[in-house]
Symmetry: C2
Subunit: 152 residues, 2 copies
């Protein structure tokens, strides 16, 4: 992995309080990207960007990711129409995570399962954490992927 | 790494639409956890949980993480007072990420640099992504760590 496009991390204070982007990618060259709805603030998904995906997102203003399963660049919405227009991008103190606030095009869903957000299920709290820990679905689907794509 | 506490992932549909938590940890046994303010919705930080940290968070209702730098459990707020009371926990479609909505105790800051959120800087968009890509600080510090702890 070569990371030559962005400035490197050298000094902790510069990374934490400086005015230059110095992204730190993990051993696989990736950085988690939190995606929220720019209007409602709802967390929509967590994706991963490599250096190229981060650069494309900054330059084009639409979200690009690196697909870990397919090992290829992934322009969100290229096939589904659920393009993410980036209204704002943020990085965190140690610059190893990205937050983007987006407006979603197409049918407004983000999740391939058909929901507005990938986080459509709550986890039951306050009981023993076990193989019985329960989830509850709290959203209505925006669309049914079976009907649109003929598959799950 | 052994993951014996929670139910395993077996079938894709069960993972995506089922009613049982089946967390998928990465090769290091970790899962990213997005943390938002339960009242304002603001994204506060991104932490990492291993199986034990996730279990403690579910059972105690206060956020635990695994510190990658110190390689130890980390009860958020144990030293700073910035304890995170978990109001709601969610997982995503493939159950490899967690979202917790929290109320922050103590001085209300989350970031060790002194800000309410770790995402206190915006990234300049729409220009060439380079070693000159700019950040802008958009929050006021809640406190100055130098004054509280005598160090950065």
């Amino acid at each position: 992995m070569t990371e030559t496009r962005f400035a490197p991390q050298t000094d902790k204070a510069e990374t934490e309080t400086g005015a230059i982007l110095r992204p730190k990618f993990d051993a696989d060259g990736l950085m988690p990207a939190i995606v929220t709805d720019a209007d409602s603030g709802e967390v929509l998904m967590l994706g991963y960007m490599n250096e190229g995906a981060l650069a494309r997102t900054i330059e084009e203003g639409e979200a690009w990711y690196w697909s870990r399963s397919r090992q290829e660049y992934w322009k969100k919405g290229a096939t589904s129409g659920q393009v993410q227009q980036v209204v704002e991008m943020r990085t965190d103190c140690d610059q190893d995570a990205i937050l983007i606030k987006v407006r979603v095009a197409g049918n407004g869903a983000t999740c391939h399962v058909g929901y507005r957000s990938c986080f459509y299920r709550t986890v039951e709290l306050g009981k023993s954490a076990s193989a019985e820990t329960k989830l509850s679905i709290t959203q209505e689907r925006v669309y049914d992927p079976k009907e649109v794509y003929g598959k799950d």
